[in-house]
Amino acid sequence: MKSGIKSDSFEKFTVIAGSIMNPSVQECKDGGRKVLGYTCSFVPEELIIAAGMLPFRIRATDSESAGRADDYFESANICSLIRHTFGKVLNSEYDFIDGAIVGGGCDGNRHILDNWEKSPAKIAFLDRLFIPHASNNLTAEFFLGQLSGLKSRIEGYFGVTITDEKLWSAIRLCNEVRELQRELYGLRLSDNPPITGSETVAVIVAGSSMPKEEYRDDLKKLLRELQEVQVPEKKYSARIMIVGPGHDDTSMSDIVEELGGLVVNDLTCFGGKVIFGSVKEDGSDPLKALADYQVLTRPFCPKNLSAHPVINKEVFDKSKEFKVDGVIGQVFLCCETWGGEIFILNKELRDAGIPLLRIERECTADSTGQLRTRVQAFIETISGGAL
C-alpha cells in the first residue's frame, strides 16, 4: 500500500530496491569503484567499505524463475530464495560485481559459493565467511580470526590496505545509517504513520544496494520530509509484525496493507535484524568490535543455537512497543532453521496471547492469491471482523 509520500529520495530508494543494477551502482562503476557482493547480512559491510569498495547485498529481486539454478539445486528440496538468488547470478544479472563473499549461514547459502565456483558465472574473487552457530566469547574470537583472514584476502586480491582508521570510519558511517533506519522504523510507532511497512522495506533494501554515504544523505532527507508531512487520518484494522528470513520482496507487506492492516515492524534479514544496535566505537580493535557486534549483539539467524532468546526478546519487545496485534511468521519452504524458529515462537506468543500466522511459501510473488486469503482470515480474526 502506498502512503502517498512525495519525495525524490523515496522514489530513488524504490527504484534501487526494485532492481538489481541501479544508477548509483553504475555511477560507482563508472568512477572506477569496485563492487563486492555478499549474500548474508552477517558479512560486515564495514569491511568492504573500509576496503574502498561498494558492498552490495545479493538478492533475488523480481525473480520469476530460478532457471538454470535448478540444475545445481534440487528444486523440490532447496529453499527458493537460494535457488532464485543463484538463478540471478547465472543469468548474468550480477556481472557488475567484482567479487563476492558468501556467508555460510544456512546450508543452502553455503552451497551458493560451491556452485558459483563450478559455474560459467565464476568470478575471480569468491570467498566465504563462516558464520558462528553459537554466541559466546570463544565463538566471537574464532569469528574475529575469520574476519581477519577475509580482510587479508581482500587486501591481497584487490591490492588495498584496510587500516584501522578506515575501519573505524566505516563503522561510524554504518552505525549512523542504522540509527537513521531505526528512526525511520520509529515513525510507525504512531497510529497513523507517514510511511507504510511495504515502503519501509524498499528503503531498507536500498541501503544495501548503493553507496552508504549517499544513502545516509538521502535517508536524512527522507526523514525530514516524513516528519513534515501531513498524514491524512486513516484507521488500520490490525498492526502486524513480520518475522522470518531475509526477503527483499514486499508482497507480504503489500497484502497486509492492501487488506487494511499495517506492518509496523519486522525481524527479518532485510529489516529489523540489519538495523539492530550499533558496533561499539570505543575499543582499540575495530575488527574485534565488528566480530563482537555480529556474534554477541545482533539477533542472529536461528541457524545459531544461541539466537532464540535474543529473537524472542526482540519480537516481544517490539510487539509491545509498536502495539502489535498479530505476528506473521513467514518461512520459505525447505528453510528448517526459520521453520523451527517460527514453531517455537508460535508456542511462546500463543502463551502470551499474541496471535501468530505461520506462512510457508516460496520466495516469489506468484503465490500471493493463497496468501491473501490466509492473511485476510488472520486480520479478520485478530481485528474482530473489523474489515
Binding site: N77, G339, E360
Partner: protein, 403 residues
C-alpha cells in the same frame, strides 16, 4: 546352521534393536542428551548416559508403526520438508516422550535440521531449568578449526563437571580412548577387507559395527572389541579362501552415497544382492576415516576429538564441508573399493547433497562413473517405495551394461 556372521549380526542387532526412547548409552550416572553423535569417549569415561536425540528419531522410523509416527511428526508443524528422522525426533520431544535429561548439549552439526532440533531442545519449556551447553561446529577442516572445536569440547567437560559436581577421571578417559582407538582400528581393518573382490562379507557390517560401538550400552567395551575381532577373523578367512558373500554371486559393486537410512538396508539392499548380485560396498555411515586419538597431552586429545567431530563423524564429513571435499571422497571410495557405479539417494531432507547434484553428476560423467540420482526419503518408504527404487536401480544397471 548359524554361522559366525549371523551370530554377530544377531548380537549387535539385539543391542541396537533395544534402542529408541531409552537412553542409548545407558549408564547409572547422570543423563546427557544431545542433538548429535558427539565424543562418546567423554560420557563413557565420565560414567554418564548419553543419548543423541537424532538417533532416537531415526530409530523411530524403523518401528512397526513408523508411518503413523511420521504422520504425527508432520502434524507437529515443524518445517514440512525437514529431514524425516529429525522431524520424528522433534515429535518425540514435543509429545513429552523423551526422558528428561540432566544436561543438554547441542551443536549446529551437521545440518540445518539438526539446528532446528537443537533449538527445540534448548527451548522446550518442561526442560527450562536443565543446564545447556552449545557448541559451534565450523564449516572448515584445518588445524585451527580442530583446535577451536577441541577447546569447546574441553569447555563442555568443565561444564559437565560444574553441573554434576564431579571431576573427570583423566586416567579413565585415557583408558577409554586407548580402547576406542583399538576398536576404530578394527573397524578400519574390516573396511580394508571389503576391498577384496568378491567382497568377503556383507559390507553392511561396517555400519552395524559403527552403530554397535557408538550407540549402545556396550559402547567402547571389551565386548565390542571381541565382536570386531571375530568379524575380522571370519572375514580374513573368506578373503584367504577367495569367497564372496555367502549365497551371492557378486556382479556389481556400488557406492550408496548417503546414510543407509532405515528401510533401504532392510527392504532394498538385500533384494539387490539376492536378485541382481549388486552390492552396496560402501555407504556414508560405513565409510570410516578414523584417525587415532592423540594421547600425548590433554590438548592433543581434545584437538583429536575436535578433528573427529568435524571431519570423521559420518554426517559431518558428508555435510559440513565443500563440494570439492565431497567429490574427492566419492572418487576415493570408487577407486579404493572398486565401485562400478554411484547411486545418490538424494534424500529429501539432505540439503547438502541436494545442493551438489549437478557438480557430482558432471564429475561422474567426466570420470566415466555411472551415476544414478534417486530422490527418496531414506526414513520414509512412502516417498519412493522399495519396489520403485529397486526398479529404477535395476533399469540403471541394465542400461549401463552392469548387469
Amino acid at each position: 546352521m548359524i554361522n559366525v556372521f549371523s551370530q554377530l549380526q544377531m548380537q549387535a542387532g539385539k543391542s541396537l534393536g533395544g534402542l529408541c526412547l531409552d537412553p542409548q548409552n545407558a549408564s547409572p550416572g547422570p543423563f546427557v542428551l544431545g542433538n548429535g553423535d558427539f565424543f562418546i569417549e567423554i560420557p563413557a569415561a565420565y560414567g554418564c548416559s548419553y543419548s543423541d536425540l537424532t538417533i532416537t528419531g531415526a530409530m523411530g522410523t524403523a518401528m512397526p508403526d513408523a508411518s503413523e509416527l511420521i504422520d504425527k511428526a508432520i502434524e507437529t508443524g515443524v518445517e514440512s520438508r525437514m529431514c524425516t528422522a529429525l522431524k520424528v525426533a522433534c515429535y518425540y520431544l514435543e509429545a513429552g516422550l523423551v526422558r528428561k535429561p540432566d544436561m543438554i548439549i547441542t551443536s549446529n552439526s551437521c545440518c540445518d535440521s539438526m539446528d532446528t532440533l537443537g533449538n527445540l531442545m534448548n527451548t522446550y519449556k518442561p526442560w527450562a531449568e536443565v543446564p545447556k551447553f552449545i557448541m559451534d561446529a565450523p564449516h572448515s577442516f584445518d588445524e585451527e578449526s580442530y583446535i577451536y572445536m577441541g577447546k569447546q569440547l574441553r569447555q563442555a567437560v568443565t561444564f559437565m563437571e560444574d553441573v554434576f559436581g564431579r571431576k573427570m577421571d583423566w586416567d579413565r578417559l585415557r583408558e577409554v580412548c586407548v580402547l576406542s582407538n583399538k576398536q576404530d582400528q578394527l573397524l578400519l581393518e574390516f573396511q580394508e577387507l571389503k576391498k577384496a573382490v568378491p567382497c568377503p562379507a556383507n559390507p553392511d557390517f561396517s555400519r552395524l559395527g559403527f552403530a554397535y560401538d557408538r550407540w549402545t550400552g556396550e559402547r567402547i567395551s571389551p565386548q565390542i572389541t571381541d565382536w570386531l575381532e571375530q568379524l575380522i577373523s571370519a572375514t580374513e578367512q573368506r578373503v584367504k579362501d577367495k569367497l564372496g558373500i555367502e549365497g551371492i554371486t557378486e556382479k556389481v559393486r556400488f557406492l550408496w552415497q548417503e546414510l543407509a537410512g532405515t528401510w533401504p538396508p532392510v527392504e532394498l539392499w538385500g533384494r539387490l544382492q539376492q536378485e541382481l548380485g549388486a552390492i552396496v560396498i560402501m555407504d556414508y555411515m560405513s565409510f570410516g576415516t578414523l584417525t587415532p586419538i592423540d594421547l600425548t597431552s590433554e590438548e592433543a586429545m581434545f584437538t583429536s576429538f575436535g578433528k573427529r567431530f568435524l571431519l570423521e563423524d559420518p554426517m559431518n564429513r558428508q555435510c559440513l564441508h565443500t563440494t570439492d571435499f565431497f567429490c574427492n571422497d566419492i572418487l576415493q571410495i570408487v577407486k579404493d573399493f572398486k565401485c562400478d557405479a554411484v547411486i545418490i539417494p538424494a534424500h529429501i531432507g539432505n540439503r547438502d547433497t541436494n545442493s551438489r547434484l549437478k557438480v557430482v553428476r558432471e564429475m561422474c560423467r567426466e570420470k566415466g562413473i555411472p551415476c544414478l540420482v534417486l530422490g527418496m526419503d531414506i526414513w520414509d518408504k512412502r516417498y519412493m517405495t522399495p519396489e520403485t527404487a529397486f526398479d529404477r536401480i535395476k533399469t540403471f544397471f541394465e542400461t549401463t551394461g552392469l548387469i
